[in-house]
């Protein structure tokens, strides 16, 4: 258990003064205990809000029939990716599965291109050929956007393999869900990742439900941060609804990888407000559960309160950010509706790279 038990920071997150007890640690509220600048936290606020508004708009466009097929919204989980990305360098790579819009925005991808992919238009990141679950950006080091539960874990481990092979100093942030945590290929990957000391941050976004099945109904071991134990991979359990916690965990995890210590597993305890996909009547959980989470643990509301209480921003400044974000999303939605569908000649392109 020594390697696993909610490890202390050990010099990783340099800006954090106190040793961490991750799952039980209370979120610091006093200004003196917040190790981040107003500028950093306003950036986080803006990013989380951008994701929230983007997803709400996506839900709306889906309702209008402008987005088809599967569409998995990230609403509620924003603090996970925004906090972790704060520790990423421009050499690092990111890969995730199909609840991926938030990760793309957090990687700096253009909301217009993401939204246009959702509407299946040529202005989308994949020229309309990938859709919500399959989007990529070489420029942003975003490697998808994959539709098969668990498949991103070997792929992300492969990205980490390339970082080590090229000695480029990069780290792969490899995201998967609590549902994927029961796939066999995850553990084949864990084994090789620690055997070869690959620089990979495994992030399990535990939103408590794999589609309609709660974690407890699917997992013999529900403490997912312990899932690397047999492979000697240290685990952290983090309150994924709190941007201060996710930032802190990201810094610690990245430092662990950059020091050549191999992989680390970060369990982010989080919650999705919306259904698994758009056509989910959500009979597997109560309305009270959802509204309690929204009321008491919303990552955006919490950060807003921290910013105001600590006089890092006033209401007017936050309102201004709200307005800016809204304008970006409106423009993205317009672009996504105006961009044309791909030309029929695109049907037979991009199947093979011409040698």
């Amino acid at each position: 258990m020594a390697t696993i038990s909610k490890r202390s920071a050990r010099g990783a997150a340099e800006r954090s003064a106190s040793p961490r007890k991750t799952s039980t640690r209370k979120r610091p509220t006093a200004a003196s205990k917040i190790p981040y600048t107003a500028e950093e936290l306003l950036r986080d606020y803006r990013q989380m809000l951008l994701i929230r508004r983007f997803e709400e708009k996506a839900g709306q466009l889906y309702g209008m029939g402008l987005i088809g097929g599967f569409c998995h919204l990230y609403i509620g989980q924003e603090a996970v990716v925004v906090g972790l990305q704060a520790s990423a360098s421009d050499k690092d790579t990111l890969i995730t599965s199909y609840r991926d819009h938030g990760h793309m925005l957090a990687c700096g991808m253009d909301p217009r291109g993401v939204m246009a992919e959702l509407t299946g238009r040529v202005g989308g990141y994949s020229k309309g050929k990938g859709g919500s679950m399959h989007m990529f950006s070489r420029e942003a080091n975003f490697f998808g956007g994959h539709g098969i539960v668990g498949a991103t874990v070997p792929l992300g481990t492969g990205l980490a393999f390339s970082h080590r092979y090229n000695e480029d100093g990069g780290v792969c942030y490899c995201y998967f869900g609590d549902g994927a945590a029961n796939q066999g290929q995850v553990y084949e990957s864990f084994n090789m990742a620690n055997l070869w000391k690959l620089p990979v941050v495994y992030v399990v976004e535990n939103n408590m439900y794999g589609m309609g099945t709660s974690l407890a109904r699917a997992s013999a071991q529900t403490e997912l941060y312990k899932r690397g134990e047999s492979f000697g991979i240290p685990g952290l359990q983090v309150n994924g609804m709190d941007i201060l916690e996710t930032r802190h965990a990201g810094a610690e995890a990245a430092a662990h990888c950059r020091a050549g210590k191999g992989p680390i597993l970060v369990e982010m305890k989080t919650y999705r407000y919306r259904g698994h996909s758009m056509s989910d009547p959500a009979k597997y959980r109560t309305k009270e559960e959802v509204s309690k989470m929204r009321k008491e643990s919303d990552p955006i509301d919490s950060l807003r309160k921290v910013l105001v209480d600590n006089k890092m921003a006033d209401e007017a400044a936050l309102k201004e950010i709200d307005r800016e974000v809204k304008a970006i999303i409106t423009e993205a939605a317009d672009f996504a509706q105006q961009s044309p569908e791909p030309d029929p000649s695109e049907l037979y392109t991009d199947i093979l790279v011409e040698a």
């Binding site: 309702g63 209008m64 990529f136 994959h146 098969i148 070997p154 393999f161 390339s162 509706q337 029929p344």
Partner: protein
């Protein structure tokens, strides 16, 4: 400005539904994300959440209304400072919104989506322009086994390009379960020749992930029987990502290892997977027969920017051939080779079956039948031109393969010959394949299962009506 709230589609197929209940009333203020109504379809009851904030100014469709069309306005939301007159104005002027996307009307979009070029293209036809015809190699050769030819191909390419490395079970310290990677660890070290645990699914995926980021992995499967454990990564990740990324995310990777029947290892270790991979757009598939094939095709596969499957054969590993020793000798993927020219009947084969076809041709020659044997070399893309040209000369064709008959390579060749050379055929296409059974262990049954030269010769005679 006042905002219309529209009847949402709650699933990809929903066209109308019942507005079961309003949870907010006119005059109530609404936050983005608040549940404002319940919608019922034949499948489920779903909640409608507000996408904007404001005041619910006017309800346009009363609770209990059935058959409300998707996208019909059902309410008006007012922004800060607006009064109900704005709601009336929006409600009155409300045009029935038209879904802008053709995607919302699949029937209407269908004819347009069918590109004329696509319709004219034969099913699963070669996507790439066929490479130029191979120039006959005139340089020096050395005698070596297929095993050594494969080894040399890898050694030369690992030497040539720093991004190339070999990974797989027993490839490094053990030097390959079939000794194909002999000496590579000593020559290149453990960073370039990587032993993996027995974890096909994940090491295939690790290879694909590394290829996405610019490395050029050679992933060895100890045999292709074990690659079934990795099938999701091979098809969903390696083959499809270039397309799904609109051309951004290439996957320059080679999957290689012995394929097809070995000897006396029974059903789980004796199977030809060629049609499985040849079925998939986004992959290239080659199946070498000779030492020159092995070296030239493996080198081409490693240099190719796409996922290429190199289907080797355990029984061929120990056979010796003349192999070009020029380090720049590379064979074009997508070209077949005429192994034996003839005029009476065409016999196509790949991998070890090329040897069987050549033996059959010798048997046929004794009876005065001059067979042309085509070594397919590449199964995707398939060299349709070479097959059709041969059929136009011989007017008869027999396909030979180890795989099962249903949906095999022979089935595909029969279809293409019908599409492209129907009027030149003097007899129906004959197929000689593995028997449609799991591979038996008993020596006599195993022999009965696999194509033998006598059986191929008999099929050739039958299409010659002799």
């Amino acid at each position: 400005m006042a905002i219309q709230v529209l009847m949402p589609a709650l699933s990809p197929t929903m066209t109308e539904g019942k507005l079961a209940k309003w949870l907010k009333q006119e005059g109530d203020s609404v936050e983005s994300g608040d549940v404002i109504a319940e919608i019922e379809t034949d499948k489920a009851t779903m909640e409608l959440e507000a996408a904007d904030e404001g005041v619910l100014g006017k309800i346009l469709v009363q609770a209990g209304t059935e058959g409300v069309s998707v996208n019909a306005p059902i309410a008006v939301l007012l922004e800060d400072g607006e009064d109900s007159s704005a709601a009336d104005a929006v409600a009155a002027s409300a045009p029935q919104p038209q879904p802008a996307s053709q995607a919302a009307q699949p029937e209407a979009a269908a004819p347009e989506a069918r590109a004329p070029e696509a319709a004219a293209q034969p099913a699963a036809g070669p996507v790439a322009v066929p490479p130029p015809p191979e120039e006959e190699y005139t340089g020096t050769t050395v005698t070596m086994t297929v095993r050594e030819a494969l080894r040399d191909a890898m050694a030369e390419e690992i030497q040539r390009d720093e991004a190339v490395f070999l990974m797989g079970e027993e490839v490094a310290e053990y030097e390959g379960a079939y000794k194909v990677s002999q000496g590579l660890l000593a020559q290149f070290g453990p960073e370039r020749v990587v032993d993996t645990p027995i974890s096909e699914h994940a090491f295939a995926g690790i290879g694909v992930g590394a290829a996405f980021h610019g490395l050029k992995p050679i992933v060895e499967f100890m045999t292709f029987n074990f690659a079934m454990q990795a099938m999701d990564q091979l098809i969903n990740s390696a083959a499809k990502t270039l397309y799904m990324s609109g051309g951004q995310m290439g996957c320059p990777i080679v999957f290689r290892g012995p394929n097809g029947a070995a000897a006396r290892v029974a059903a789980q270790h004796s199977q030809d997977f060629a049609p499985w991979y040849a079925h998939v757009p986004g992959l290239k598939v080659v199946a070498p027969y000779s030492g020159a094939d092995a070296k030239g095709l493996l080198k081409a596969a490693i240099r190719d920017p796409n996922p290429v499957f190199v289907l080797e054969n355990e029984i061929l590993y120990g056979q010796s051939f003349e192999v070009p020793d020029d380090p720049d000798f590379v064979l074009p993927i997508g070209r077949a080779r005429i192994e034996r020219a003839g005029i009476d009947v065409t016999i196509t084969a790949y991998s070890r079956m090329v040897g069987v076809a050549l033996e059959a041709a010798n048997l046929l020659a004794e009876e005065g039948i001059d067979a042309e044997v085509i070594n397919l070399r590449s199964l995707r893309p398939l060299d349709t031109d070479a097959i059709v040209a041969s059929v136009k000369k011989t007017n008869r064709i027999v396909t030979v393969e180890e795989c099962w008959p249903t949906c095999g390579i022979g089935s595909e060749i029969a279809a293409r010959v019908m599409e492209h050379a129907f009027d030149w055929l003097d007899a129906p296409v004959a197929r000689v394949s593995g028997e449609d059974v799991p591979m038996p262990y008993a020596a006599n049954l195993e022999r009965l299962t696999l194509p033998q030269p006598e059986k191929v010769a008999a099929a050739a005679k039958s299409v010659c009506y002799k």
